[in-house]
């Protein structure tokens, strides 16, 4: 008898959960209340790209033709209220929805990524200038200038293992004069937050 009652109780919860997941809007599409992520912070590292692949360097000197900056994003996942269920197994929708399975959408997308030089860079870019145009984000088969990249990927859907992703921004036009350089990376988010980080000083040599 006790087992039967327990089973009945579970069945009621299951049916209620199923009924909730069956909610369909007037267009016949199941409303999607997706998992979201928010940009929290990021870290910057100097890159040495002399070899087959770019590596983070803590040296004070790097070849100016093989220099780059790595951004390591720090994002937090925001769990949807829909998935805050005391009985998680009952929260699985019975019908497919337009949500990306296990995917996270950006709550605050990236509006821009800019790089400012702290030292004089060349004749046209004195200290404090925006030198974003000299950097490209590389993914081997394509190189995108920062603005292009943001347009294409600023509000990407991500999976849980991509939340702490990295971006390699390679210096495609090195400074005319060799010497010590330092850069500030500024990320503007769609909620108007501005996060910035500064690289360690490094000598960019021929």
């Amino acid at each position: 008898m006790l087992i039967r009652r327990a089973l009945m109780t579970l069945a009621v919860f299951y049916l209620l959960g199923g009924a909730a997941s069956c909610w369909v809007d007037y267009e016949g599409v199941i409303p999607c209340d997706p998992l979201k992520y928010t940009h929290k912070d990021f870290e910057v590292y100097n890159l040495d790209n002399r070899g087959a692949e770019a590596i983070v360097t803590h040296e004070t000197v790097v070849n100016k033709h093989a220099f780059g900056i790595r951004l390591v994003m720090d994002r937090d996942e925001i769990v949807s209220s829909r998935f805050k269920n005391i009985f998680p197994i009952f929260s699985t929708p019975l019908y497919a929805s337009d949500c990306i399975p296990n995917g996270y959408v950006a709550q605050d997308s990236i509006s821009s990524i800019k790089i400012f030089t702290i030292a004089d860079f060349d004749d046209e870019h004195a200290a404090g200038s925006d030198v974003s145009e000299y950097f490209s984000i590389s993914s081997t088969s394509t190189f995108s200038v920062l603005s292009e990249y943001v347009n294409m990927h600023g509000s990407d859907h991500l999976y849980i293992d991509q939340l702490d992703g990295k971006l390699d921004m390679l210096l495609m036009t090195p400074p005319t004069d060799s010497g010590a350089h330092q850069f500030t990376v500024e990320i503007t988010l769609s909620d108007e937050r501005v996060i910035e980080q500064t690289t360690n000083a490094i000598d960019l040599l021929e």
Binding site: E53, A66, G68, S136, T140, L171, M172
Partner: protein, 273 residues
């Protein structure tokens, strides 16, 4: 032990001789089965030349003599058809060799080969079945046991054509270049016209079963071209674009061993057991 082997051989040979009673030129219809290899006389890939074999497959290929038959309408003259099927190695297996060749061209001391995240489009892993169909005329020179059948044939072979590419990263630099060879034919398998000259030779084990070896030279002709592009990925600038001709004629050496089964004898031999 030696005595046993010698005695066994004598028994086998005498047994064979009992069966091999027909005179020469007895067969009228015969079929062949065998296993062979096909390899270019002048290796293409190893010499650094471009060919579909560089782009797709290794030079040497093993094939099955799937359907092969001869019909002798005269004592010494007949016709022969051959259908051979082979299974070239997976083209992905050639990727490393291709990249090595490209690296050699651009300078190992200046570049690294780097992984291409868009690997799939140009490095399709689809293998294909190689096939050739040849038809020709065969002439017979036969003794009581040994025979030699010179022949000439013409026909078509399939050619697997694959696109290839490699990404090279310059040492001490952020620069990456993309080298690609893209075929000018829509299909990944096309055909070539072949001319073949060769001969079969062997030994008659019985009246109807021969051990056979086949040797030939096969000239393949095709008009495939590749577009070679070198693009600086860093700034999307095309550094080079040219058309590469597939070697219009490749001379292949073809060898196989197998058996000949006589299905029908000529009229004057049919009553012989």
């Amino acid at each position: 032990m030696k005595k046993i082997i010698v005695l066994s051989l004598l028994v086998v040979i005498s047994g064979i001789q009992v069966f091999a009673q027909d005179g020469p030129y007895a067969s009228q219809i015969a079929i062949n089965a065998g296993l062979g290899i096909l390899t270019p006389v002048h290796t293409t890939f190893e010499n650094g030349q471009l060919s579909d074999k560089l782009v797709g497959y290794k030079n040497t290929m093993v094939y099955w003599q799937t359907i092969s038959g001869s019909y002798y309408f005269r004592k010494r003259l007949g016709v022969r058809i051959d259908l051979q099927l082979g299974f070239p190695n997976n083209p992905v297996a050639q990727r490393g060799a291709f990249e090595s060749l490209i690296l050699q061209e651009f300078g190992r001391d200046q570049y690294y080969v780097v992984e291409n995240p868009a690997f799939e489009p140009l490095h399709s892993s689809n293998a294909y079945i190689w096939g050739t169909f040849m038809a020709g005329v065969v002439y017979r020179i036969e003794g009581l046991r040994w025979y030699c059948y010179p022949r000439i044939s013409a026909g078509y072979s399939t050619i697997g054509v694959r696109d290839r590419d490699a990404y090279l990263k310059r040492k001490n630099s952020n620069e990456i270049i993309h080298v690609s060879y893209v075929r000018n034919v829509d299909l990944s398998v096309t055909s070539s016209f072949n001319l073949l000259a060769g001969f079969s030779t062997g030994y008659k084990l019985t009246n109807r079963l021969y051990v056979n070896a086949d040797f030939s030279l096969m000239q393949s002709e095709s008009d495939i071209q590749f577009t070679r592009s070198v693009v600086n990925v860093s700034n999307a600038q095309t550094l080079e674009e040219s058309t590469i001709d597939y070697p219009n004629s490749i001379l292949n050496f073809n060898a196989n061993i197998g058996a000949v089964l006589v299905l029908r004898k000529r009229r004057e031999f049919r009553d012989l057991k």
